[in-house]
Amino acid sequence: MRKETKYVSYLDYEGQYKGIFGWIFSTDHKRLGLLYLYAIALFFFVGAILGLTMRVELATPGETIMKAQAYNGVFTVHGVIMIFMVVIPGLSAVFGNFFLPLMIGAKDVAFPKLNRLTWWILIAGSILAIASQFLREGPPDTGWTFYAPYSTKTGTSVIIATTAAFVLGFASILTGLNFIVTIHRLRAPGMKFFNMPLFPWALYAASWIQLLATPVVGITLVMLIFERLFGIGFFNPDLGGDPILFQHLFWIYSHPAVYIMILPAMGVITEVIPTFCQRRIYGYKAIAISSLAIAAVGFFVWGHHMYTSGMSEQARWFFSLLTFIVAVPSAIKVFNWIATMYRGSINLQAPFLYALFFIFLFIIGGTTGLILGAVAPNVQVHDTSFVVAHFHYIIFGGMGFAFFSGLHYWFPKMYGRMYNLKAANWGAIILFIGFNLLYFPQFIIGYQGMPRRYYDYLPQFQWAQTISLIGGIILFIGFFVMVGNLVRGAKKGAIAPANPWNGTTLEWTVPSPPPVENFDEDPIIKSDPYDYK
């Protein structure tokens, strides 16, 4: 099979190091992309198990399988793993690393060695984060937000967890830096910014957020660590500090962080939809510019997480206004995706199915986000499971389903083999059903007053928690169907052609899996990356 071709794929290449070292010491962006994929899949599995543990605890009112303090630890760890180790590196580190150079006609990223170092930093940070669970002080119980002043006082291992977040942030910064330089310097001759496919555009916008927002939370976490170590009072009101200031600094990063995850997700969807409709993307420039607009405006809406914190009235309406403005470019993208489908010849395969589910879930997540962005309803549902449902619709329903979409879309390119198409569709459908069963009831009981982060609840919420548990179990079945199918495909699937979906972007012009140096000769750059003639 592969002997017949005269190229050496990146999977078979034998460099200076052999075996596993050929992977973990590799600077090949494609190998690093797969390393990220495996690491993040593992973290996701751990985080998902913790999530399921919470659902089991909530199966009945009162103590079911754990005590309140254990529950506090579980939701904190679930949040830290899922946010800092899964969704923030997720799409950009996995698909960005693998496909950014391929899509812009480059042979690697700008700084391959830095890229390798970044993966190691991510692993180091992850080890720290996981270690914080097993220390004598007990797992941190602050929630992933580390809100002061509680985080300055609690006896649990907050310092290790915040150090982990700092280190993981550093990895995120370096990924962003690498991508920005790559896009500026390594585009193939003839490819201008407006000839780039839209996934690189989305990565470019997200990279700027990674670069500019992460340092702010970094220094905030260091201040928190020093506050704990030396009794400094930056955020502790007893010492003159201001806990609301911590919230400001935290959300100055953590709101834009939502766009670090969702922009590349939108980028993936923007690649999948034209390919499976065989139609030129509708409004190329509008989508490209809206990515930058989301990144820019997204920097100034952080206060919508703080309406009930005691922030001034003027700040509340200001942040509310800007939150509504930032919804506009997101909506533009949704309209463009749907317009692209109009009169397209649709090929209903798993990547496209996931993309459709993404749009559906993202619309629910986005519109409930507007409910939360308006001050009056926010005060009503703040810190209830309404919020939990909202951000799971965005992060999991949005970013997660886009990840699955991208995974099924690019799988044949990454592994050179194809998975079972029918099983993939079933996996998508089961995941979709499980997801909605799990999270939609939380909107309802959140609206009725079910607080988030409680291990106990009133009996009147029992019905919803039961549905959610069932949804969670179905979700897990969906995972096993999806992952089982993909693993089987990677091992025994049929050999995939170079361009199984009839895509037009550059990654489909090279063999599957791509050769070590991607392009043997300079790729031909079309002025329109989505030319389906």
């Binding site: 600077t27 042979k107 690697d108 830096l177 330089v181 992460t214 400094i232 003159g240």
Partner: protein
């Protein structure tokens, strides 16, 4: 890994390295930016304490350190110009001078901090806990910001020393000086931050 190094595409891209350094400088600016934000908030809340706090610092030591950093910034710029003009010797001398000035800055800082420590004023001390809130915050910020800045001085010194040895070994030379240029950029950043730290900590009263 070496798998690319044998291949033709591994060409040198100085512009990419420079852009990468600038982007890293952006992250440093926002790292300190977060602290300047905290400073400005607390200063607006406790103007009198910040005023009194700044009177406790010696303007003379601060001014001397400002001059030291300005000269070192100029000397590293001269080192870069020298290497571009193929004057390796001058470049090495200037790099050494810069590192020496950086060390002088740290010695100064050591005595400045030492005096504070001597009076029982340091993070975590009993005196710090007894201060009123504004003073407590002022000195917390003072130690935190100048401490972080001093850490950057040390990192900068290491980078400059590496550059020095690269110039000495002939690896940094007239037509390949990106390492020196980036180390110099980093050093200017350290100077740039001090330019704002100095008036905010020592002067404004």
């Amino acid at each position: 890994m070496s798998q690319h190094e044998n291949h033709a595409f591994e060409h040198r891209d100085d512009e990419a390295k420079k852009l990468g350094m600038w982007l890293f400088i952006f992250t440093e600016l926002l790292l300190f930016g977060g602290l300047f934000l905290v400073y400005s908030i607390f200063r607006s809340q406790y103007p009198d304490s910040f005023h009194e706090g700044s009177l406790e610092l010696s303007v003379t030591i601060g001014a001397i350190n400002t001059i030291i950093l300005l000269v070192s910034s100029a000397s590293v710029a001269v080192a870069l110009t020298a290497i571009q003009k193929n004057n390796t010797k001058l470049s090495m001398q200037m790099l050494l001078l810069t590192v020496f000035l950086a060390a002088a800055f740290l010695v100064n800082k050591y005595f400045e901090w030492g005096a504070k420590f001597h009076h029982g004023l340091y993070p975590g001390s009993e005196l710090m806990q007894l201060l009123d809130r504004g003073h407590h915050l002022y000195f917390s910020l003072y130690f935190f910001m100048t401490g972080l800045h001093a850490l950057h001085i040390i990192i900068g010194m290491i980078l400059l020393l590496i550059s020095y040895f690269k110039v000495k070994a002939g690896k940094v030379k007239m037509d390949d000086f990106m390492h020196l240029e980036n180390a110099a950029l980093y050093w200017h950043l350290v100077d740039l931050i001090w330019i704002f730290l100095f008036p905010l900590m020592y002067l404004i009263s």
